[in-house]
């Protein structure tokens, strides 16, 4: 995802000298070329995220389009009030990029597990929230955030879902991407954990359950039509996200369903349940430990189907 990110940033920076990339002293081995090519459009502000958003606000008030970068919770939670009062309230084109979504940095421990960021960014009015699943969605996200006025959040992941057939998919702001067609049950996912979801869909297909898999990609604006069709055309919805369930992507889907009287027969949110992740391990290990891997998804869907068939 970082390669796709850099490719897009290079393209935009070349076209628009008012684009600036600010980092909170992270991106070793990633930003050197950008700094060399566009020295006036790159700034390492040091390990100082509050100041990073403040400086971004000052630059944006003077007409710059900003991308800030850091990992995990640092670019969001550490400077939340600056994001709210300065970037969002002043309606500035400041786009926050967090790499290491969910358990990407699993081995580094709880401080580096980004598990509440989706909920917290969702609480900020007008914040565009994009969580790509594929490299292609990552590129589109950067371009969409550039064109979209107002603050934005881009959550990147170490893992990504790869499927050659998606290379030319159009990634439109506020529209889902269909990763797999199916009319039995809908699985909605954000981020690289889509890999697990697609594995589950494939296994379930062997058991004659055809899953529709949607990459939500754009949590705000959200694709109400796709959610409506999922409720209408399939048995229901299972959401899968690498993060805390309270206020996360699944909550966003639940809100759309309740507010619009869409009535899925099955509804389940898969993710981290009301806890801090104290366990150390690889991204895959933690997905399995916290029951958000393909096995957990398969188990749930099969149980629900049994209940429905009784």
């Amino acid at each position: 995802m970082r390669d796709a990110l850099m490719e897009s940033l290079f393209e935009l920076a070349e076209k628009d000298p008012n684009i600036m990339l600010l980092t909170g002293d992270l991106g070793y081995g990633v930003f050197e070329e950008f700094e060399k090519t566009y020295p006036n459009q790159y700034l390492n502000v040091g390990v100082a995220e509050q100041n990073m958003i403040g400086v971004a606000t000052g630059l944006a008030l003077e007409g710059k389009t900003i991308f800030t970068y850091s990992i995990g919770n640092f670019p969001t939670l550490r400077c939340l009030e600056q994001i709210r009062n300065d970037a969002c309230y002043h309606e500035l084109n400041i786009n926050i990029i967090a790499t290491g979504g969910g358990f990407s940095y699993g081995g580094l421990g709880m401080s580096h597990h980004a598990t509440e960021d989706i909920a917290i960014m969702r609480a900020l009015p007008n914040m565009t929230i994009l969580i790509p699943t594929t490299a292609e969605e990552t590129s589109s996200s950067v371009v969409n955030l550039y064109h979209n006025k107002g603050a934005g959040y881009l959550r990147l992941d170490k893992s990504k879902f790869t499927d050659a057939s998606l290379a030319h998919s159009k990634n439109v702001l506020g529209k889902v991407n269909i990763l797999r067609e199916g009319n039995d049950i809908t699985l909605i996912v954000v981020g690289g954990i889509a890999d697990e979801v697609m594995k589950a869909a494939s296994e379930l297909s062997n058991k004659k359950i055809e899953c529709r898999v949607l990459s939500l990609y754009s949590i705000r604006p959200i694709d109400k039509d796709a959610i409506k069709m999922a409720c209408k055309e399939t048995m229901g919805i299972v959401t899968i996200e690498e993060g805390n369930l309270a206020g996360g992507m699944g909550s966003a889907i639940a809100e759309v369903c309740m507010d619009n009287k869409f009535k899925p027969k099955i509804f389940k949110r898969v993710g981290l349940e009301e806890r801090y992740s104290a366990v150390v391990g690889s991204q895959n290990y933690l997905r399995s430990y916290y029951k958000m891997d393909s096995m957990a998804i398969i188990d749930f869907v099969l149980k629900e189907y049994e209940k429905l068939l009784k």
């Binding site: 509050q50 100041n51 403040g54 400086v55 971004a56 000052g58 630059l59 008030l61 003077e62 300065d86």
Partner: protein, 269 residues
């Protein structure tokens, strides 16, 4: 701007401020009176602006980081022609745009909404950097409180501004030595402040924050570093019973208190 009598402008800011706080039933009057002279010197003699074109690109930028003294900014902007003085009556009223903490929404001349402390300097530094990148000659002024220096974000920005040699940035610290509940030194000691700021790489100057000529001298003059002015002030300056009294951070002057304030400021109530 040459023709503006800054002493008279400062007096008017104080009168408007007391009237607004009285009518609105709002607070922080001591903090406003503290910076009335700084605002008068900045808007009367220093800052370039066009009241009929608030976003004029050639303007100097001004940020009030101690947003709780917002009525002072509303008053000086009204006096300088950004909007009708009568608008000030709407401060703190239901549906008003003139909130207690300074807001940019709908108020011409306000660059940044503040209110939570420690936000103004980082934003001012970003503006100053943008002006440098774009090779624009304008300056950025930010007025901060001394109590607000407790916020760590300011020290991130102090480091940032000197690292990037932002000599188009001027920070004025309203050093009235009182914060919300007690003195700054009893709460979280700031001294030795001048040498601290000097060590952070700023052109640090100390001056009398109520002496207009001294303030002007401190603001003017070339420097190759960002400049910070410790303006020694008296909280509640100009109203006898409010001076150096922490309670006027919160209280609203009503009745006899209001009458006395008007009298002290040479205004018939």
């Amino acid at each position: 701007m040459e023709g503006i009598n800054t002493e008279e402008l400062a007096r008017k800011i104080r009168i408007h401020a007391v009237k607004m706080v009285n009518k609105g039933g709002s607070s922080h009057i001591g903090s406003v009176l503290s910076i009335a002279d700084i605002l008068a010197v900045l808007y009367g003699r220093v800052i370039n602006y066009r009241p009929n074109d608030p976003k004029w690109d050639g303007r100097d930028r001004f940020i009030l980081s101690k947003g709780h003294a917002g009525v002072g900014v509303y008053a000086v902007l009204a006096e300088c022609g950004f909007f009708n003085i009568k608008e000030l009556d709407k401060h703190y009223q239901n549906g008003s745009i003139f909130s207690g903490h300074v807001s940019h929404k709908g108020v011409p001349g306000v660059e940044l909404s503040t209110g939570s402390l420690g936000h103004g300097l980082p934003v001012a530094a970003g503006m100053a950097l943008a002006l440098k990148i774009d090779k624009k000659p304008h300056r950025v002024f930010v007025v901060m409180s001394d109590g607000e220096l407790d916020e760590g974000s300011n020290w991130e920005a102090f480091m940032f501004a000197s690292h990037h040699c932002l000599n188009n940035l001027v920070a004025i610290i309203d050093r009235n030595k009182l914060q919300s509940m007690k003195s700054t030194e009893e709460t979280l000691a700031l001294e030795p402040l001048l040498s601290k700021l000097d060590a952070f790489g700023w052109d640090a100057i100390e001056t009398d924050g109520h002496n207009h000529e001294e303030l002007l001298n401190a603001i003017q003059g070339e420097t190759d570093k960002p400049r910070v002015i410790i303006a020694n002030t008296t909280k509640g300056k100009g109203v006898s019973y409010m001076e150096n009294k922490v309670e006027w951070h919160y209280r609203t002057p009503t009745g006899e208190f209001f009458e006395q304030a008007m009298k002290d400021l040479g205004e018939e109530s």
